[in-house]
């Protein structure tokens, strides 16, 4: 049965996913098992995306299906097993940059994969990121930027985090455009991600290491 669901979600067969989830829930299947299958399927979707078989719209579509699934499963989760947020993430496009669609997709994929996302929008000054991290006690800061100029803003944001005494409490990941490991080193961030699924994988890694 699990394979059915994994395959349907990987194939982005919205109706099939809805039917399988419904019948499994009605048959008294463990809702956590259903969510686990969804997680497996999203990993395959991520691989297909990385391999160039799926593109951004397909990724977003998978996210939408996952979101509907989560809504359907939620009432069946008892209090004890109710899925807690995986963790909090503060996200934004750094100061001096306005490219936001990449960031929005990262935010959406983090959200549907169970993270509590605090999106600060675009052109976000370092101080604002630090304030939000303090307010939410988020252990993850995700910075997006597509302009070459954004690398300096990312560096300044990481420095501001250090000045506030938070550097060792918060993991920083960056992404957007041409970001590479060289740029990551320049900015002082912990990791960089090439796409939204890489962002989700990194966020999970950060939380697991906590």
């Amino acid at each position: 049965m699990g394979d059915d669901l994994v395959k349907a979600l990987v194939d982005l067969d919205e109706d099939k996913v809805r039917d399988v989830v419904k019948s499994r829930l009605e048959a008294g299947d463990d809702p956590l098992g259903i969510m686990d299958d969804a997680r497996k399927a999203m990993e395959v979707v991520g691989d297909r995306f990385a391999e160039g078989e799926y593109f951004i719209p397909e990724l977003v579509f998978a996210g939408e299906i996952l979101k509907d699934m989560t809504t359907a499963v939620k009432p069946y989760l008892n209090k004890a097993s109710e899925q807690k947020y995986m963790g909090k993430v503060v996200l934004g496009t750094v100061a001096g940059d306005i490219h936001d669609i990449g960031k929005d997709i990262v935010g959406f994929m983090l959200d549907v994969n169970g993270f509590e996302v605090h999106d600060l929008g675009v052109d976000v000054p370092p101080r604002k990121f630090v304030e939000k991290v303090q307010e939410t006690e988020s252990p993850i800061l995700a910075l997006s930027g597509f302009l070459t100029l954004a690398y300096d803003s990312m560096k300044e944001t990481v420095e501001a985090l250090a000045d506030a005494g938070l550097r060792d409490k918060v993991k920083v990941m960056i992404g957007g455009g041409q970001i590479s490991d060289e740029i990551r080193a320049y900015t002082g961030a912990d990791e960089f991600g090439k796409d939204a699924m890489a962002g989700v994988a990194l966020a999970k890694k950060f939380i697991a290491a906590e």
């Binding site: 982005l12 919205e14 593109f55 951004i56 719209p57 397909e58 977003v60 579509f61 996210g63 939408e64 979101k67 100061a95 001096g96 940059d97 306005i98 936001d100 669609i101 929005d104 997709i105 959406f108 675009v122 052109d123 302009l147 070459t148 100029l149 803003s153 455009g177 041409q178």
Partner: protein
Amino acid sequence: MPVIKDISIEIGMEEVLRREGIDAGKDMRPRIKEALDEALEEAGSSGLIEPVAAYESYRSTGMSEAGVRLEGGGEITGSLIPEVFPGADGLVAMVCTIGQGLEDRVREHFENGEQMRGLMLDGIGSAAVDVLSIEACHRVMQSLSARGAAVSSPVNPGMPGLPLTEQAHILELARAGEIGVSLTSGGMLVPRKSASMVIGVGENMPRWTQEQVCAKCFLRKNCLYRVRPATRG
């Protein structure tokens, strides 16, 4: 100061799909097609795209490796202009925008959980900025060639040799305030769905295609937005 307002922008499905990496010839998932159709309709029918461009031409009073000085005291620094149109005896500074409407609507879609719709509408907006830039350059070319001058293809701040910080000068030169375009403190254009550019004016001005620009860009290998050669290798 010339302002161009009467540009009508038609965005086809392929324009948007190309930017999402999807081959227009390929079978499209019904859900994706539906979102794109709706977004195209939304963009077309509700006045979300209000294309407008402002430009001004200036005579050059001196060009060096560091940039170009213009009559009236203006100046554009960076090595790109002297590199690509050394023979220019003047420049056109231009700013165009599709306005704030589409951008606000995209935000609304994202906030209402309509990610796919937002994504498609945003893609339409980016394509519209591209189409507007091309059409506005064409108009400038027509108007200047009527006066006997040739114009080059445009260069944009952000290209190597034309720092983004020059956007401030270009805005001032194009008198972009008249069409409601301003800069954030960090030097970004507001509304966001805007573009700024410089065009060379003189004899024998070089022209190039978007495909040639893409071929030189540092993102040429993996940019979804790139224009690929017609025959694929």
